[in-house]
């Protein structure tokens, strides 16, 4: 536990200590701000504000954003040789991987929390469905956790950060658009199964429309656990090679 905390603390320091973190934060707010502003303009007198607006936008953005956030995590340690030193420190391999994953998730959480400012604005000028909003935020938070865990996994596979980002992007695209194939097959049962395997299948059909389902929580938690488990095995396998 203590080692996880130490790794986490170093990593979050890396995120918050680099100018890139603030540029990303700025870009994040710019993008979500424009989207919110558009929705606000469209909504005046016409329709209620879209409660899951920002989380739905982030669902697609995470496909690109999660690989960029996580590509560094383990790939850089391998390249710099610091992984060898970490693996000879009296700590478990899992504390390294989990600490790093949690730092990425925590950094994302900070960015996500910044977008709550739009909800404050929304509450002050209209009557949004608060529980719908918060449900969708919980959804995107878990969704992001799953994408970041996949990014962490691919960062463990290589010492090349670009390759790590590329591989996790491809995986996330497949996991995101995977159900597109179900629109080609005429078998509706198969299509249903496919949709339920995709990342957005567990977001768009529930959190985004104000539904909270246990199966979605299990799905995202499952992806996080499986991805981190594989990542830990990959890190440990450096000992056998």
């Amino acid at each position: 536990m203590q080692a996880t905390w130490l790794v986490f603390r170093r990593e979050i320091g890396q995120y918050l200590g680099s100018p890139l973190a603030y540029l990303m934060g700025a870009a994040f707010l710019l993008l979500t701000g424009i989207t919110f502003n558009n929705d606000l303009t469209l909504s005046i007198g016409n329709k209620p504000l879209e409660p899951a607006l920002i989380p739905s936008l982030l669902a697609s953005i995470m496909i690109l954003f999660a690989p960029l956030l996580t590509m560094r995590l383990l790939a850089e340690e391998q390249r710099e040789g610091t992984l060898e030193l970490l693996l000879t420190a009296p700590i478990s391999d899992s504390s390294i991987v989990i600490g790093k994953f949690l730092s990425a998730w925590a950094y994302f959480s900070i960015l996500l929390a910044l977008t709550l400012i739009y909800q404050v604005i929304a509450v002050s000028i209209a009557f949004p469905d608060i529980s719908h909003v918060l449900g969708s935020y919980l959804g995107i938070w878990l969704y992001a956790g799953a994408t970041l865990a996949i990014g962490t996994l691919f960062s463990a596979t290589t010492e090349n950060q670009i390759l790590a980002a590329f591989l996790s992007m491809i995986t996330l695209i497949v996991l995101y658009f995977g159900d597109a194939i179900s629109q080609i097959v005429s078998n509706t049962q198969l299509a249903d199964v496919m949709f339920n395997l995709t990342l957005r299948g567990h977001f768009m059909a529930s959190f985004a429309i104000g539904i909270l389902r246990a199966e979605d929580l299990v799905y995202y938690a499952g992806i996080i656990v499986i991805a981190l488990f594989i990542a830990i095995q990959i890190v440990s396998s450096r000992r056998w090679r």
């Binding site: 040789g81 000879t88 009296p90 000992r239």
Partner: protein, 300 residues
């Protein structure tokens, strides 16, 4: 402190370390000597708990590296050949990070002490990326020593730094003797000779010789090498030198020759030759190669 018994380490079909055994006592500096690819780094990686053994038993500070890996790792300070650094951390934060990961008591104090020992205290707020190669080497040593481990493993710590820094690092290693067991790898013979109490020479994953530097040195002294430079026609002189009964081998070297032969008679025989033939001797000196000699002999 270090006890290696019949250690074998294979990578797939390739045997990197082939059945080696050696020991290191507390307060001893043991040199692991061998050409590149001999298995030095692999041996060290097994000792630090980075890699498991294929077979054999390895004990460090009383703990088995396979069964009590975490206990071993707690008691070992390790500096890999490429000093692993986090360029974006400050010197102080970097050492503190490793101190805490290794559960050092009073980590801040330990860091301060070790930075002082390596004269890095005034640079503690500097980013690691701004350090010169020699300072990075010192930082690598500081990292390995901050938790005051009983066993210290240094993989070629003097590679790639300038001569002044090499001397510095050697002095540091020597100063560790009193309280630590040090395993030190190198392919530079004179260095091992200067620093280490005992040397283990390995080649192709096998131990080819082991002993104190003195004992290893003596082995070559029975067979002395002399450099002689005699005025005159080279071929004629080579012929004359070869005729001396005590001389076993003559090789052209620089502007003279290196001759080898029986330690006791060689110099007398050369002087006699010069007197008899009325030659002019320009230079004669023993070539003190000691370990290098054994090394090349053993490795070939």
């Amino acid at each position: 402190m270090i006890e290696v018994k019949n250690l074998v380490k294979k990578y797939g079909n390739f045997t990197a370390v082939d059945n080696i055994s050696f020991q290191a006592q507390p307060g001893e500096i043991v040199g692991l000597l061998g050409p590149n690819g001999a298995g030095k780094t692999t041996t060290m990686r097994v000792l630090t708990g980075y890699m498991p053994v294929t077979s054999g038993s390895v004990k460090v500070a009383g703990y088995d590296v396979t069964d009590d890996s975490l206990e071993v790792r707690q008691r070992v300070g390790y500096m890999p050949e490429q000093v692993p650094l986090y360029p974006d951390m400050t010197v102080e934060a970097y050492v503190l990070y490793w101190a805490r990961l290794r559960r050092t008591k009073n980590p801040k104090q330990a860091v301060k002490a070790v930075l002082e020992q390596f004269q890095l205290l005034d640079r503690r707020k500097k980013l690691v990326r701004s350090l010169s190669k020699g300072l990075r080497q010192r930082l690598g040593l500081a990292q390995a020593l901050v938790h005051n481990p009983p066993v210290i493993i240094l993989d070629e710590p003097t590679i790639g730094i300038d001569p002044k820094q090499v001397v510095e690092v050697r002095d540091i290693v020597r100063s560790l003797r009193d309280n630590h067991t040090v395993l030190f790898s190198s392919h530079i013979l004179s260095e091992v000779e200067q620093i280490c109490d005992r040397v283990v020479i390995i080649n192709n994953g096998k131990i080819v010789a082991e002993g104190t530097t003195d004992i290893l040195g003596e082995q070559t002294h029975s067979d002395l090498a002399l450099y002689v430079h005699i005025e005159g026609d080279k071929e004629q002189i080579q012929g004359l030198l070869q005729q001396i009964p005590a001389v076993s081998d003559v090789q052209a070297h620089e502007s003279g020759f290196i001759i080898r032969g029986n330690n006791d008679e060689l110099r007398h025989a050369v002087m006699q030759l010069i007197a008899e033939q009325r030659l002019e001797l320009l230079e004669m000196r023993p070539i003190d190669r000691r370990l290098e000699d054994i090394f090349i002999k053993l490795v070939d």
